[in-house]
Symmetry: C2
Subunit: 340 residues, 2 copies
């Protein structure tokens, strides 16, 4: 099996965005009408997937995507706690409809209701609903709900601990994934995403999160941000800061995906990061949707780059399936229940 | 000749830091005594260089370093405009003493007096002093004087234009280099530096800075942050955002240095970035001072990684000397005046 661990529902029917626009208009000015989601038919959901993610999944030879709401639209920095909760629940419910319509191809990862200065424990209720009631297998955790102002504490701060405790209890991983940026310095997918990946890794290096949570599993997407390219810098910093080696201190708990959109980048990733820590992913459809004029193939068809590495069968199996099933045990259980 | 374009005076005699501590104590509470710099003898300056940067320069087989004050100590986010001006001038004067004592091995690049919400045109006076009176050949420009809060406008904003006009007029490049971080989310050398590099590149991608300043030359240090590793993402984003190809839109004006502390990273850099855009550098002594236990050599001995690439003689000459002399024409003129 080939499982893509990082896909977003960026192609949802337009009623969803219409709702969001109305919701925020009402939040800004309560004299605007209360928002309500116009009905979305099963056919509309089906079409939005079949013509997009599922078509590409098939064309590219993959079987399944771990699927979550559009990351840039989580926008935890707008509205308030209630707005975020309603919007989050709606998005997760829509993912649930996709996974019900295409149970063999999609399994859910949830968005969380986060807001600036709202304790992360308030996100646990929606996490539990998605994992325990909707059959989801993980979540996306935003390390910067302020949207590029980084006004909250680092991930290693005890303020996050109640949530990590719950992740361990439920035995689900989190992907560390920011949302859109309201800071004009940071383009969302071209700067904020990669900066957040890099930042999270360095927070883990400085802190002792995995001493406190030896069973916690976190995925840093987009190939780990700048980290593999600067692997020597991080090994050297660990040494200078008297931290244990990265392999012990971080890489028993942290995984990088393969959302790196050219062969030289993927080559580097596999050269410096242990294959046990790499999860196949394409971010489909995410930051970059076009075709690379140099190759004639889609930038985000990351399977092609991995295929070009000519890994051993055992390593291929790890990257495309085994690691993902290990990191997402609820996915593994769901597949086993189907005899897969 | 082998010229390292990125070295910092991180080994200055302790009187400098004593002054800074007193300066800030006085700023916080004017009842503390006014700060004054205790005398630093030529021998002290000489020793601080001979036993450190110059020793390493010789051991590693390089000839010259483009030398600037310690970047993390610029700390534009502390004090006010006056504090920043006095501190900056003092640091630049100390660099000038180094270049006078070791004219064959060091040439100056200046720190700038920047402060939050102070117009960048106020930095021009010190730039001109350093270039026109002290014989410096460039400057370090901090894209985030807030120290990790990114409260100012992007580099492509017209607010920065008076400074870029002056750079073009003086025919000197700027290295885009942040300072320390006062945001607990960002470790300085492990996150803030690399994030700033990545951020600046994406700002250039979104904006039209080099249409307005076709002769402006900017160096993005630390191997370009996350950019080369995600070169496919950036090529794809340029396409999606209807920007010209990166080669035309950015890479006629932007250069990456080689401060990447392991061979696989350097291999990637040279694989994806045109050799004309790469400048040899080690950041000596910067983020990582130790030896790599895997190789037995210093992490920041980047010349070894480049040597291992077995570039053609012509490409070696570009990376180690030619590109630097082209990007820093005042360095080239200074060398030519010495018959080099």
């Amino acid at each position: 099996m080939i499982i893509d661990c990082h896909g977003h529902y960026t192609t949802a029917p337009p009623q969803l965005q219409d709702y969001r626009d109305a919701q925020l208009a009402n939040f800004r000015d309560p004299s605007n009408p209360a928002a309500s989601l116009a009905q979305i038919s099963d056919d509309e959901v089906r079409e939005s997937i079949e013509n997009n993610q599922l078509r590409a999944l098939r064309e590219r030879g993959a079987d399944m995507t771990i699927f979550s709401p559009k990351a840039s639209a989580m926008a935890h920095h707008v509205g308030d706690e209630h707005v975020s909760k309603v919007w989050t629940r709606m998005n997760n419910d829509l993912i649930h409809r996709v996974t019900n319509l295409f149970p063999d191809n999609f399994i859910g990862v949830c968005q969380l209701p986060q807001s600036v200065n709202v304790p992360i424990k308030n996100s646990i209720e929606e996490l539990e609903r998605c994992i325990l009631e909707l059959g989801f297998v993980g979540c996306n955790l935003n390390p910067d709900p302020s949207g590029g102002h980084w006004s909250g504490p680092p991930l290693t701060d005890k303020a996050w601990y109640p949530f990590f405790e719950k992740l361990v209890e439920l035995d689900v991983p989190a992907m560390i994934h920011v949302s859109g940026s309201c800071n004009p310095n940071f383009h969302a997918t071209g700067a904020h995403y990669l900066n957040a990946d890099t930042t999270a890794f360095m927070q883990f290096l400085e802190g002792d999160l995995f001493r406190d949570f030896p069973d916690l599993r976190l995925i840093i997407p987009h190939g780990g941000g700048a980290v593999p390219y600067h692997w020597g810098r991080y090994r050297g910093l660990a040494d200078m800061l008297k931290r244990p080696p990265l392999t012990e201190h971080i890489m028993r708990n942290v995984y990088f995906d393969t959302c790196v959109y050219h062969l030289p980048g993927i080559e580097l990733l596999f050269k410096v990061i242990d294959v046990d820590n790499i999860l196949f992913a394409s971010e489909m459809f995410g930051a970059v949707k076009g075709k690379d004029p140099e190759t004639g193939h889609y930038f985000d068809d990351t399977k092609r780059y991995i295929d070009a590495l000519e890994l051993s069968d055992a390593d291929c199996k790890k990257v495309f399936e085994g690691n993902v099933r290990r990191i997402y045990p609820r996915l593994d259980a769901a597949l086993k229940a189907k005899g897969k």
